[in-house]
Symmetry: C2
Subunit: 418 residues, 2 copies
Amino acid sequence: MSLKDEIRNVARQAREASLILGNLSTSTKNSALKGMAEALLRSTSRLKKANAADVQSAKKERLPSAMIDRLTLSGAVIRAMATSLKEIALLPDPVGEVTRMWRRPNGLWVGKMRIPLGVIGIIYESRPNVTSDAAGLCLKAGNAVILRGGSEAIHSNLAIAEILQKVCRQHGIPTQAVQVIPTISRKAVEEMLLLEEYIDVIIPRGGEELIRFVVSHSKIPVIKHYKGVCHIFVDSSAALDMAQKICYNAKVQRPGVCNAMETLLVHCQIAPSFLPLMAKKFKAAGVELRGCPKTRRIVKSVKAAKEEDWSAEYLDLILAVRVVDNLDEAIKHIIRYGSSHTESIVTQDYANAQRFLREVPSSTVLVNASTRFSDGFELGLGAEIGISTTKLHAFGPMGVEDLTTSKFIVYGTGQIRT
Amino acid sequence: MSLKDEIRNVARQAREASLILGNLSTSTKNSALKGMAEALLRSTSRLKKANAADVQSAKKERLPSAMIDRLTLSGAVIRAMATSLKEIALLPDPVGEVTRMWRRPNGLWVGKMRIPLGVIGIIYESRPNVTSDAAGLCLKAGNAVILRGGSEAIHSNLAIAEILQKVCRQHGIPTQAVQVIPTISRKAVEEMLLLEEYIDVIIPRGGEELIRFVVSHSKIPVIKHYKGVCHIFVDSSAALDMAQKICYNAKVQRPGVCNAMETLLVHCQIAPSFLPLMAKKFKAAGVELRGCPKTRRIVKSVKAAKEEDWSAEYLDLILAVRVVDNLDEAIKHIIRYGSSHTESIVTQDYANAQRFLREVPSSTVLVNASTRFSDGFELGLGAEIGISTTKLHAFGPMGVEDLTTSKFIVYGTGQIRT
């Protein structure tokens, strides 16, 4: 069978499975999810063995150690995968929820009912735990999933899928609910991205290069985020202590993730008291500051920021710092240089808090809280399938509800149009 | 200026305007919409003059008379355009609506707030009334719009846009809120479809060929529907009189539109009593029937349906008819041959009504009502910007709310992540 036919087959079978998945009862889905968690735990040694093959090749090919780290299935990672599946089982079932219903003058009752999207393609890199997390979320929302992980994780991903499929079979769920593309060639991804008659949406998870590749080749709608250039604006009325804690947390707690702060904006009135204190704290944590001229007049040791620093996603202990005249200038800066991901204001001023919240067009906008809360779990979605910085369908962290769409349902009593 | 630069300029200005539009007050938007309605009525003779130039060229180029009909701006069409803008002014403003808000264990209040999509590109054919309808809906939802109508309507569309822009100026709204691409070359559309940094979504309205062109060239997300192959299933328990009225209405009232019935499915138990009556009514209305063998055994005069009839969108007084054994066979037929647009069941049976409503994965599913109700106005959305049969972002008729997205807003009191 040609590669094209092989991928087509996978997608067609996913479509067929999706018709059954959409009508599964909540209890069937939940017991399958719990069964999957237990099966993963029982298969720890088998998973570690499959994973060892991947890790060995990765070392042989001298992949970066951070990548090998993400690739490795330790006992702790496997336990976390199982816990995540159990937590997904506890989430409310979004399928069939009627979110609104209203009555028309002619007596028709019109409502909106959540239904699964259908078939979801996930394209991701190294982390094998995405395989079970994504499979669990897609199953909960009644979707079939086609998983295409990085070639470096192929043995781990196939082993995980096989375990999950066995549990599907035990629960009378089609095994094509969860499929891993077994071909490691990138051509397989290209073929997959053309199958708009079988796949409803593609969610890429990984670096900007992967995501741009997917967007430029896909005929299927893509939900994506390129990067997170997150800002905190410390307003003139900010409480100094709160501002320091929030800024420190947003930059230092986990600098390598997309919701970490990359640019700090400081109101000119508070900058002389705030910046020296903050710079001292950041220095102690090893954070390199790159500042505008006004920042450098206040804290002499700060390096000069270049134009490209204002749109940089460092993912590292580096921070761009700019002193601004007022809230308007801060919002303008965010719109001009930001990535629509996450921004926060630290303020005691009621009007400025409300204006920032309303006027900043980013996917998560916070008042007096760390940008690090921009995360499906932290915001209360229960789990996260990805994050979107494009505004269509979903904007911000995506939970299980975002794996559904809503159809119109209409109860009539014989109405016709005149 | 090159064509590329010209289109880029339009899109960049739309993006800039969108930042202001998102923060307009409801009363500013509503008085502008009412002002636009009045300005169109006052400019009737000017609009007719611009339109006459388009109609004359269309006649010279021997365009089909149905197309010339759609192109013509009569006094009645202009009045309808004005009425539509006034109705849009009366709709609730979706921007800023907080649809949900919840509290996290750490004291964060998390909510979802509707904001505009940003910049919307509408690509459409002949009808100049789409220009003002789409502009009005986009403005109401705080979006800038770039309109690209058919080349045959260019004078009409430019005249309408100029009138609307003048009203924008009078209300302190940037005139780039409403822009018509002045170039008639198709190359202009291709350029527009590449500008993902400026345009958030493309909504094509027109024939399947246009829509496929847009989808295959766009780097920007597209909300689309290809066609409407709508079904009615007359169940064994249907009231004969109600079933006849609904089927007649769905096929005959306006056969040329996407929510007209194209295939009739009849339960085998009711077919012998229902089909002869129905066939007689359809015959009187000039409807040609194409049936399965069982249909033809009951009504001899029916032509034989070919395989392609089951997926045909006739948009004409033609109807495919199939006798099915039960509800399951009906649902299977709809999934196999349908277009996910609109389906209806006529039944007195409670369980079958509920099963049909839940299990048919189309954008509008009705019980005991005509498929012709699948329309934004009829369903109570107030107006319709288009219809989507892809499941992402919107599924079914799209109203003004579908021109917004939702961001997360978070009220904190100094929370950091640990």
